[in-house]
């Protein structure tokens, strides 16, 4: 075999998409929930704030755009996190997880290929949800090419977190409840425009996972600002740190799981 990693990636891609296409109802329900949740958040916020603080007019429109970008980023990150840990829990209970560890490929390699494969599906689902939200709210966002860069760093950080959670699943097996709390925290963190903070708050916010990338995405898509290279450098360093940390924690968890015999008995 000439390109084993490419073969593995394509196998993961086929597996992911076949399962999606064969049972599309789950994805359709997922998209519906994402859109309807945003609609009620939007309607609720408008109602509570009242017409004076409305999300219309020039500043209101920017606020809404920032809200949409923040919401969609949160959905993407949460779906990356929950898909990774849920599928791992599910595979552990059905026995396919052990089969993955019987592969001559390193398990980290297999899961990285899986992450790439499932990302293609996640992006399609989030893309459809975003289109529906834009149509419902009449919002317009910019999609400049430079968007790819902070989106890449955002996903690197998100997958770093996902690998750390996946490692936790290998050792403690059930993380659904902990994950719920983490997701809520991330939803708040990524939905708030922390990039507009000043002083120490700003510095601390930029050390939090994914926050600098989310700020850049809001600047590019909602505020129509050009890419801030200084901030991008911070976002890249942040992404590399969390991705590395995620890989490290996953590899360490795998060692612990093998040492304690935890790869089975779920």
């Amino acid at each position: 075999m000439k390109f084993p990693l490419l073969e593995l990636f394509l196998a993961e891609l086929r597996r992911t998409w076949i399962q999606f296409i064969r049972y599309p109802s789950e994805a359709i329900v997922g998209i519906f929930i994402i859109v309807i949740t945003f609609y009620f958040l939007f309607a609720g916020a408008s109602y509570i704030a009242g017409p004076d603080a409305g999300l219309s007019g020039a500043s209101g429109s920017e606020r809404l755009e920032v809200l949409v970008v923040g919401y969609i980023i949160s959905i993407l990150v949460i779906s990356v996190l929950s898909t990774t840990s849920n599928s791992l829990e599910q595979e552990a209970s059905t026995g396919t997880l052990e089969q993955i560890f019987l592969s001559p490929f390193r398990s980290l390699t297999v899961f990285i290929m899986r992450a790439f494969a499932s990302l293609s599906l996640r992006l399609v689902i989030v893309g459809i949800s975003l289109t529906a939200i834009l149509l419902i709210t009449g919002t317009q966002l910019r999609f400049p090419l430079a968007l790819v860069m902070p989106l890449g760093t955002l996903l690197m950080s998100a997958y770093g977190m996902a690998f750390a959670v996946a490692g936790l699943v290998l050792v403690v097996k059930r993380v659904s409840q902990v994950l719920g709390a983490v997701q809520f925290g991330l939803f708040l963190l990524l939905g708030s425009p922390v990039e507009t903070m000043e002083g120490w708050g700003r510095a601390i916010a930029f050390c939090a996972p994914m926050v600098p990338s989310a700020g850049l995405l809001r600047d590019l898509m909602a505020r129509e600002l050009p890419l801030n290279w200084g901030l991008y450098g911070i976002a890249l360093a942040n992404a590399l740190f969390y991705l590395g940390l995620g890989f490290l924690l996953f590899a360490r968890s795998e060692r612990i799981a093998k040492q304690r015999g935890l790869l089975s008995g779920y």
């Binding site: 075999m1 000439k2 076949i18 064969r22 026995g95 592969s103 001559p104 093998k258 790869l263 089975s264």
Partner: protein, 307 residues
């Protein structure tokens, strides 16, 4: 030459403040084409041993070599290994058998083309070609197990680990899986089989290893072990009731020699006594004479209870 060589395997767990020695000094070796039945009561250490062999649990002591490669140090050793693990589905239920074979083939290091070719051959060999496009979740339990075995073989491993392969299968599916296991061994693959169905172990295995409380207490060729535990008792069955066929004098002589009589049967201890009894029975019509042989179940129970 041995495909599997496990030497001095040991594993200790610390759980709830207690130290549990799950596996102690286990040595196992299997040659190509050989079936080793690895038997033991629940919690004896079978699954821990199998998972140490498969690289899923790191042993505290000892070494594992699959075709001379250590799966804990060299992941390429896993190319020589296939496994169907107990209590698990081992398959993606939403995929078809062929899609599972293709996916797991690539995961084991084959190209898609190779995996597809090997998958089609296995489906044909396992008489599953007509189901190759049905989702696994719609197949019967027996067919799912056949697909799981096929998946374990898709990359042509030299060693196959089968942990309770007939668990939960009906009689017909059990017979099919038994046939497959024999066929796989005949093709040269070494097989490590665990099962609680001892009749299956006896019918399939070349050798038996019995583990209890983490240690192997017996390891021998199956028939030799059974023979060792078989007594020198004989059973003579007549073509009618003993009281009708034998005179009272003959019956009392047999009784005085310690022969047990029941209905149309006599139970005799030792070969010499057998010939004496046959003389006494003449000319009563004899239906059959057979030696009382132990089966693996008796051997297993004796060994496990004695130790």
């Amino acid at each position: 030459m041995k495909i599997l060589q496990a030497q001095g395997l040991g594993k200790t767990y610390r759980r709830g403040g207690q130290v549990v020695e799950a596996v102690r000094q286990v040595d196992l070796a299997i040659a190509p084409g050989e079936i080793l039945a690895f038997l033991g009561p629940n919690g004896a250490g079978k699954t821990t041993t199998i998972k140490m062999i498969a690289g899923l649990i790191r042993p505290d002591r000892g070494t594992v070599a699959i075709a001379d490669q250590n799966p804990h140090r060299d992941p390429h050793a896993l190319r020589q290994l296939g496994a169907v693990l107990e209590g698990n589905r081992n398959l993606y239920w939403r995929l078809t058998p062929l899609e599972n074979l293709e996916y797991f083939g690539v995961l084991r290091g084959l190209s898609r083309t190779e995996a597809r070719r090997s998958g089609r051959e296995l489906l044909e060999r396992f008489e599953l070609s007509h189901k190759r496009d049905a989702a696994v979740q719609n197949l019967s339990r027996g067919m799912q197990q056949k697909v799981a075995i096929a998946v374990a073989l898709v990359h042509h491993p030299k060693l196959l680990l089968l942990d309770e392969p007939t668990l939960g299968l009906d009689v017909e599916a059990t017979q099919t899986v038994k046939g497959l296991v024999q066929e796989i061994a005949a093709s040269g693959c070494a097989i490590l089989l665990t099962t609680h169905q001892l009749d299956i172990a006896e019918a399939l295995s070349d050798r038996v290893a019995i583990i209890r409380a983490g240690a192997v207490i017996a390891e021998q060729p199956t028939q030799e072990l059974v023979r060792q535990f078989s007594g020198a008792s004989y059973q003579i069955e007549l073509e009618g009731n003993l009281e009708e066929l034998l005179e009272a004098g003959v019956r009392s002589r047999l009784e005085s020699q310690g022969i047990v009589m029941q209905g149309n049967r006599l139970f005799v201890r030792g070969a010499e006594a057998l010939y004496e009894v046959l003389e006494l029975l003449r000319p009563a019509p004899i239906f059959q004479v057979k030696k009382d042989a132990a089966d693996l179940t008796e051997v297993f129970l004796k060994l496990v209870q004695e130790s």
